[in-house]
């Protein structure tokens, strides 16, 4: 229940935060929303000597549209995503998913950047970012760089972000008109991580699929982009036979960790089921 001692730092700019990270090497952790970090510290699973609180850095906040790109500050909270008029209009998959993350209090603190940077396959934003073809903007001592979501996740708790980098923002393209979307998350109760979840973005051309992206949560060491399943759909009509093959293709790439939510067979099957339901919901939305 009681966290261990640490030195507390509260920078007010990204460059200050980055130089603190460089200074402490592996002896520091970023304090964003804190709702993954503090529970770990209270159970003494994490004992960082230094905490760098990035909650007072204005550059990390805000949702805006610039040059046809939606920019979401890494420290944007889930509730800010949920209630954002801009996102509800232009990237509605994000508010839809934010509703299913944690609970109302945690959503006031949990951030999209923290959710992504942690590299936890159970978190929701990685799969959503993949389905949105999002780009992450990182900043380190050498300056800024951009990494596509599909290239960012290397393994459980392992991302492309270096020890001395922080995530500054997430960039996504606004939805074209008649873009269907859905996030279907099977969970044991409100606030639980996904047993399995699927994020779908989809466009039809007539009665054939012209674009589809499928992101999967918590069914492998990282979030997954189900490209093979997508390929089965592009240029084709939606039939129940096609959906069976899509579900099968999704199941084929799953490698979930077994836990009290279920064994590998169940979680894998649920990845398929969530994908089916998310596709059906996305289609209904793109009419």
């Amino acid at each position: 229940m009681i966290p261990p001692s640490f030195d507390y730092h509260c920078p007010t700019s990204v460059s200050e935060a980055v130089s603190l990270l460089s200074k402490f090497g592996g002896e520091a952790k970023i304090l964003a929303g804190g709702h993954s970090l503090l529970p770990m510290m209270k159970l003494r699973f994490a004992e960082p000597a230094n905490l760098i609180d990035i909650n007072k850095i204005p550059e990390l906040r805000g949702i805006s549209e610039e040059g046809g790109v939606i920019k979401i500050g890494a420290m944007t909270t889930e509730n800010q995503i949920l209630f954002s008029d801009l996102l509800q209009k232009k990237v509605p998959l994000l508010p839809e998913a934010a509703k299913l993350i944690a609970d109302p209090q945690v959503r006031n603190r949990g951030t999209i950047g923290g959710d992504i940077a942690h590299g936890d396959p159970a978190n929701d934003h990685p799969a959503i970012a993949m389905a949105l073809d999002a780009t992450f903007v990182l900043q380190g001592p050498g300056g800024q760089r951009k990494v596509k979501a599909v290239d960012f996740f290397h393994g459980t708790y392992m991302t492309d972000m270096a020890e001395d980098e922080i995530m500054v923002s997430i960039e996504v393209a606004p939805f074209a008109s008649k873009t269907g979307y859905a996030y279907h998350k099977l969970k044991r109760k409100t606030g639980d991580w996904a047993t399995a979840a699927a994020a779908v973005v989809l466009k039809m051309s007539g009665n054939k699929v012209s674009h589809v992206a499928i992101g999967l949560t918590n069914v492998a060491p990282t979030a997954l982009r189900a490209t093979a399943a997508e390929q089965l759909m592009i240029g084709h009509e939606i039939t129940s036979e096609l959906m069976d093959r899509v579900a099968e293709s999704v199941r084929a790439i799953c490698d979930p960790a077994e836990d009290l939510r279920g064994d590998a067979e169940y979680k894998t099957a649920m990845a398929g089921e969530m994908t089916r339901r998310a596709i059906a919901a996305a289609i209904a939305r793109c009419q």
Partner: protein, 165 residues
Amino acid sequence: MSKKIVSMNVNGKKVEEAVESRTLLVHFLREKMNLTGAHIGCETSHCGACTVDIDGESVKSCTCFAVQCEGSEVLTVEGLAQGGVLHAVQEGFYQEHGLQCGFCTPGMLVRAYRFLKDNPNPTEDEIRVGMSGNLCRCTGYQNIVKAVQYAAKKLREDAHKPVTA
């Protein structure tokens, strides 16, 4: 370990105290401020019994450090009643039997307070979702929903009352 001075407004009063960096806000409130309304029911940020209101948002006070609240406005259950008059949410929980052992109640009240400010005319489903960060073992939530509905109605009626000269 070295202590830091933290200063914030708690229930409208400025406070300034020396704390360790690791001092959780819930312990700061309960031990240093002697505001024992916020309770601790778990250590994994699930139960919500510690919920307070920070700068206009419901936050689990067990999952932030006191030092993170530098300069913030913090409202606890002890700050809900004004001038001896109970807040509508407190009245609602009393009228609708929304509590039994009382342990989850302060967290429920402070959360309901903010929930109704954000959503003054909620449906039952919205209330259940809005209160889903607060666990209760005694009531089964049914009367808590009624309590929040009572408070919502009272707040809407009070808002429409003519202001006496």
